[in-house]
Amino acid sequence: MVSKPMHLVQNVKRGPYATLTLRGEVIPSHPGQFYMLRGEWGLSPLLGRPISILGEDAGHSEVRFLVKAVGEGSRLLHSLKPGDAVRATGPLGNHFPLSGWDPQSPVVLLAGGVGVPPMVYLASRLSESGAGIVFCQGARTKEDLLLLDELEAIGVSPHLATDDGSLGHKGLVTELLAKELEYQPGAVFACGPEAMLRATAKLCKGKVPCHVSLEAAMGCGYGVCLSCVTQVTREGKTANQRVCKEGPVFDAEALPWL
């Protein structure tokens, strides 16, 4: 990982969402990893923001992110303009498994909200390797569904669920998962709101390996400040682990609190 100034080459906005492309020297990453991003905006907010990687180019000179303007820092990232300098520290954290299940079985990718970008990155990497993918995305309305064009570009037809039924299944994305579990997938990977992750973990428990990516308030993103810890239970022992370093991707069975 490195920490260095990069610059913004493109900002494509859609409502509160912005797809940012940063240019600079890019260290190859894996899906699920993230960067700490901070523009040159003075002393407040003081910290960078952890943003999942949406994708990167093959030449290792550009990396893309999707941010949603929800607070002070993400609003400033959303308003970045081409040419603006951004301190980018990354890639950080661990990543989703890219193998380890029966290759004859498909994997289910479950995504919601700003949890969609890393799952799109994962889908693109898995489809390159020829793995079978079932991609399920949930949102409040069809306006809130994200990155459908990117999914189409990599040849993935997502199963959609909206709360109001404006597109796809009317209801929760985890209801789509319940159906998919009948076909015995090789693994389930999820990123999204905590309630979605909780329902996902519950459905998968004891049936299929499930990995979820967690969100947490981070100070540094690289393991020194110990702000982002979560309780992880392995072999009957519970201990704090850093979401930024040992995570953000955890085996759902190791998160009994979820």
Binding site: R87, T89, V224, C225, S227, K245
Partner: protein, 314 residues
């Protein structure tokens, strides 16, 4: 122009005055992913205690204007695991390693200092009597001059390594605790730890961190810290290491002019892990620009000027 950036903190020679602050650089190995630790004057490890600690429940951190409030609660792997797992990997680093430590009683402080005594890669011990986020130990020892002297003297007895005492600014008169640490046998003072602070989410009508009160760090506290360093360094004969919101070379120079023999960079690492190298380079350029051949000549130099600088806001 060749600039001598070397400074002495008591008997310890540092190749330059820029160090990493405890609690902000982990066990230092994390920082090696970004740069070579031997480029710096030194680094202070995350506070260690016997047996380790799981720390406080999250949320442990929130931002405030120009700063942040933390309540990590001194989560650490424990002295035993540190000595067994981490220390062997740190022995090859050519820089001054300072082990920060704490206990929950005078006896525990002394026992911790004794346990760390034998490790060859530890150049000095930094006694933490100033953490605002643990119920016993920490700040409880740092606000009473008598206790400061007692716990310093107890640790002094069991270690031959240089003993630094990290002070809290949460006192009426820091010169009293500074002098007490000196009287107890401290070799240097680390000034300062975080300021007790609080933040409330008005929409949710709830405290922003789990323990309600935490410690404020970052640029927001820098002017308070500069004053504490100035006062403490005037009151004692032992060297003072300046800490508190240092994020630029100018901040580092300011602390040195106030009386610091070296500085520690903490919170600035979070948003820019390379900040210490940038600070070091800026310090060197400052010395060249001002014709300063030896940075040690700047220590406390502002105190010699009786008149303030012209200070028109521009």
């Amino acid at each position: 122009m060749a600039v001598n950036l070397g400074v002495k903190v008591g008997s310890l020679q540092l190749k330059n005055p820029v160090m990493l602050a405890s609690g902000c650089c982990g066990y230092a190995l994390e920082m090696e992913e970004f740069f070579d630790l031997s480029l710096l004057g030194g680094y202070c490890l995350k506070g260690l205690c016997a047996g380790g600690s799981e720390g406080n429940p999250p949320p442990r951190l929130c931002e405030t204007p120009g700063g942040l409030i933390n309540s990590i609660g001194l989560q650490n792997i424990g002295i035993e695991e540190f000595l067994g797992e981490k220390a062997p990997k740190l022995r090859r680093v050519n820089s001054v390693m300072v082990a920060n430590f704490y206990g929950h009683s005078v006896e525990e402080y002394a026992a911790a200092a004794e346990k760390l005594q034998a490790e060859p890669c530890i150049a000095a011990l930094e006694m933490n009597i100033s953490c605002p986020n643990v119920k016993t130990g920490g700040i409880a020892f740092g606000t009473d001059p008598k206790l400061v002297q007692e716990v310093t003297a107890a640790c002094r007895q069991v270690t031959g390594k240089p003993l630094w005492v990290k002070l809290t600014p949460n006192v009426t008169d820091i010169t009293e605790t500074a002098s007490a640490a000196e009287d107890g046998g401290a070799d240097a003072l680390s000034c300062i730890n975080t300021y007790p602070a609080m933040a409330i989410d008005v929409e949710r009508r709830a405290f922003k961190i789990n323990t309600r009160s935490g410690g404020l760090s970052g640029p927001a506290i820098k002017p308070l810290a500069v004053r504490a360093v100035y006062l403490a360094s005037k009151a004692v004969k032992i060297p003072v290491v300046g800490i508190g919101g240092i994020s630029t070379w100018a901040d580092a120079i300011e602390f040195i002019l106030a009386g610091a023999s070296a500085v520690q960079v903490g919170t600035a690492l979070f948003s820019n892990p390379l900040a210490p190298l940038e600070i070091l380079e800026g310090v060197r350029e400052y010395c060249e620009r001002h014709g300063v051949g030896d940075i040690a000549s700047l220590i406390g130099a502002a105190r010699d000027f009786e008149r303030p600088a012209c200070n028109l806001p521009r």
